[in-house]
């Protein structure tokens, strides 16, 4: 999402120097902790609670990987990164993986030399307007003033959208989400645009959330997912299949409550293979046979993690939408465990 040209250039330049140490899996096992890069704070996705414990949707991925590799979901050293420091932290080896609502894009994958192991949240850029503006579609926003975070891909998406629909707008550049909330509430702009999850989280903090509506248009694709360095495919596989295990677990109905019962053996061979009672999938990854069971035990399956951190029961109140299982009309589709 956020990316400045300078820093991507710096990152790319530094990539040559930051030789990725091969054998991240062995490093993590030897160290006994997983160094996981997270955001410095994003509602629902990653934030420390009053006791200083990290919690959130992205954090849950870190914990699942730590549980799969080390058997302990708390054996994670969370390294907070900003939008500007995240890629150098990963490239320089300071962190083993990055789970920081990072959009999977071509240049990040190819040019910055990272491997996105999957998508844990399908986001997209949306619009929020006050209800009394009487707007029901983003195409009615001709001449509107728009609060927009500078230096992000959302800024470019916005320009593209308005140009392709041949309508005009007046941007109000702002720096942070916090500033945007204040500007928007103070009436400095008619519309606030950022990722739909961010809009929902922002609206949830308003005193009167009902006075604001999210417009139906989603004008960009923002697949957010965890990523690792190029060049260490074994480690990439571990992170990728841990994420897939969480997604498959939901599809197959494995939850944190029934997992111990299921680990005794079931009639479904795929469940048995995931939970390690059949086959040698864990061994192939270089992990214990019950690696996926530990990962799912860390915070539940994908659906449980979603509901606990950002789902409809939380103040953020995001619907599953695109992030439902493919069987429910969403995009979550894990390759088979075979």
């Amino acid at each position: 999402m956020k990316k400045t040209v300078i820093f991507s250039a710096l990152t790319a330049a530094g990539m040559a120097a930051g030789a990725a140490a091969a054998g991240t899996l062995d490093d993590v096992k030897a160290r006994g902790t997983l160094n996981c890069g997270v955001t410095t704070g994003l509602v629902g996705f990653a934030a420390p609670d009053a006791n200083g414990e990290w919690d959130g949707f992205d954090v849950a991925v870190c914990r699942a990987v730590a549980a799969a590799v080390l058997g302990d979901p708390t054996a994670v050293e969370f390294v907070p990164t900003t939008g500007k420091t995240r890629f150098t932290a990963l490239a320089s080896g300071e962190i083993d993986m990055l789970a920081r609502n990072t959009t999977w894009t071509f240049s990040r994958d190819v040019d910055l030399k990272f491997t996105f192991v999957g998508v844990n949240y399908y986001d997209g850029q949306g619009f929020m307007v006050p209800k009394d503006l009487g707007v029901s579609s983003a195409k009615d926003l001709d001449g509107a003033t728009v609060c927009i975070q500078t230096g992000t891909t959302t800024e470019l998406n916005l320009a593209d959208f308005f140009r392709s629909n041949n309508i005009s707008y007046e941007p109000v550049p702002i720096e942070t989400n916090a500033e945007a909330q204040q500007q928007y509430l103070a009436g400095a702009c008619d519309v606030y645009t950022t990722d739909a999850s961010g809009l929902a989280a922002t609206r949830a903090t308003f005193e009167a959330p009902g006075d604001h509506v999210l417009l139906p248009e989603i004008i960009s694709k923002e697949p957010l997912g965890p990523l690792v360095r190029h060049g260490d495919n074994e480690w990439g596989d571990v992170v990728r299949w841990t994420l897939n295990a969480l997604i498959s677990a939901e599809e197959l109905g494995i939850t944190s409550t029934n997992i111990s019962e299921m680990s005794g053996g079931t009639d479904n061979p795929e469940i048995n293979r995931i939970l390690g009672t059949e086959g040698t999938l864990g061994e192939m990854l270089g992990l214990d046979a019950d690696w996926a069971m530990k990962a799912i035990n860390a915070g539940g399956n994908y659906g449980e993690i979603f509901e606990k951190n950002i789902g409809e029961a939380t103040p953020i109140g995001l619907a599953r939408g695109l992030n439902a299982q493919w069987t429910d009309g969403g995009l979550l589709y894990s390759p088979p465990f075979r």
């Binding site: 704070g41 509602v43 200083g52």
Partner: protein, 429 residues
């Protein structure tokens, strides 16, 4: 005519009657100061109305404040539409605002004790009428503070101290012969002591130490701002003096090193230096050997403020009349004596407002470390606290609290500097 007596002769003084009400007391003060001309009266009324507007909005907001809830939503429920602050965030997260979110809660007494000891250590430096023996504690304070805050084995600070003491003795021994021999000999000795001592300390010395180890990454909150501010100010003043003198030196090499350093650092924004410290330096070290982030940031901020202080002191040096330098020469003083006894005391006195200005600015600039994902006071507010589902949306209370903390410190520094200027005012005005 002789027995004609006056009808009335006053035999005693008329008792002074009180001045008319319009020429005394608050009425006169108000008339003189607030309503002396129609224009002033108008401005006064406008100003009072303005103050009333501010207070009418803020006072109920503070008075209605909610202190005991556990989330913003509960606050709003408790307020029930009335305007009021949600100060519960301060009562719930005060420890994170002050110490960061990872400093172990049962160890808060360590930074708190360090903070108290800091006043004892700073007092003899700030108030020169106190007995000079107290400076011994000031010299020991950095090591005590390091041990208290970071914990771990006590051997580390002791080794650092021994290195300094050994270096100092070597310096004392050789400085009479040649300043350079003493200076570089002292530095070399200190490093030899540290390297040898570092090998002697067992690798597992931190395990089972009396005070548990707290890595730099776990420091945060206002504690981090204070630590950065105090460390960087106290390091950058001597460095700034050295740079200012070096810039005036007759030796071209030293002069040009100082000029290039000062001009380069002053020409680069602080935030750029911080990014270099946090991001780029990692590429210059071999993989796996990273210098502590706190140390990297301290070095960068110190270099930055030293360059500014050097220029302030250079202004002080330039303000001294040429005669002062010539007087020192004619007394037969050598360069260090002339500087120490005649030039610097006067130049530094002139530079006090400028140095304090840089120090206050530097202290406030420490919040910039929040952009390189260190959780100082502002970083805690912008990151973890505003990103928690409970407190997302609380701005005025948190930022007001931060302003209050910074204001207390900066106002204190400013008051001290004014007192110091009065104390040192020896000229005739």
């Amino acid at each position: 005519m002789s027995d004609t007596s006056a009808a009335f002769v006053r035999t005693e003084q008329v008792p002074p009657s009180p001045p008319p009400a319009s020429a005394t007391g608050p009425v006169k003060w108000a008339k003189d100061n607030l309503f002396s001309t129609p224009l002033y009266s108008l401005l006064t009324i406008a100003a009072f109305y303005f103050i009333y507007l501010i207070l009418a909005n803020t006072l109920p907001w503070i008075a209605n404040g909610v202190w005991g809830t556990s989330s913003l939503a509960e606050c709003r429920e408790a307020l029930n539409g009335v305007s009021g602050g949600c100060f519960s965030v301060l009562t719930e997260r005060w420890n994170q605002l002050l110490f960061g979110f990872k400093y172990p809660a049962d160890q808060y007494w360590r930074p708190a004790l360090t903070f108290l000891l800091f006043f004892a250590a700073a007092a003899p430096v700030l108030f020169f009428k106190l007995p000079r023996q107290l400076l011994l504690f000031t010299a020991l304070f950095p090591f005590i503070a390091f041990y208290l805050i970071w914990g771990g084995t006590i051997l580390t600070p002791i080794l650092a101290l021994v290195g300094f003491v050994a270096g100092y003795f070597v310096y004392q021994r050789f400085v009479t012969g040649s300043f350079a021999a003493g200076f570089f000999g002292g530095i070399a000795t200190a490093f030899v002591v540290w390297i040898i001592g570092g090998m002697l300390i067992p690798a597992n010395a931190n395990e089972g130490a009396l005070l548990s180890t707290v890595p730099s990454r776990d420091l945060g909150g206002f504690m981090l701002n204070m630590m950065l501010g105090v460390t960087c100010v106290s390091l950058s003043v001597p460095l700034g003096i050295a740079l200012a003198l070096g810039r005036q030196s007759d030796m071209p090499l030293i002069k040009w090193i100082c000029v290039v350093f000062i001009e380069f650092i002053r020409g680069v924004p602080l935030i750029t230096l911080l990014f270099v410290a946090s991001v780029m330096l990692a590429y210059f070290f071999p993989p796996g050997t990273t210098t502590d982030l706190f140390l990297r940031v301290v070095i960068m901020i110190t270099m930055f403020s030293a360059a500014y202080i050097a220029e302030v002191i250079r202004g002080g040096l330039a303000a001294l009349p040429r005669g002062q330098y010539e007087a020192a020469d004619s007394l037969g003083l050598d360069y260090p004596q002339a500087m120490r006894l005649i030039i610097l005391p006067q130049a530094l006195k002139i530079s006090i407002p400028g140095i304090v200005n840089v120090a206050v600015g530097l202290f406030k600039d420490t919040v910039l470390v929040s952009v390189i994902s260190m959780f100082d006071l502002l970083g805690m507010i912008r990151g973890p606290i505003l990103a928690s589902t409970e407190w997302n949306g609380v701005y005025w209370e948190l930022l007001g609290f931060a302003s209050l903390l910074f204001f207390v410190v900066c106002y204190g520094i400013s008051q001290y500097s004014q007192w110091l200027e009065r104390q040192l005012a020896t000229d005739h005005r």
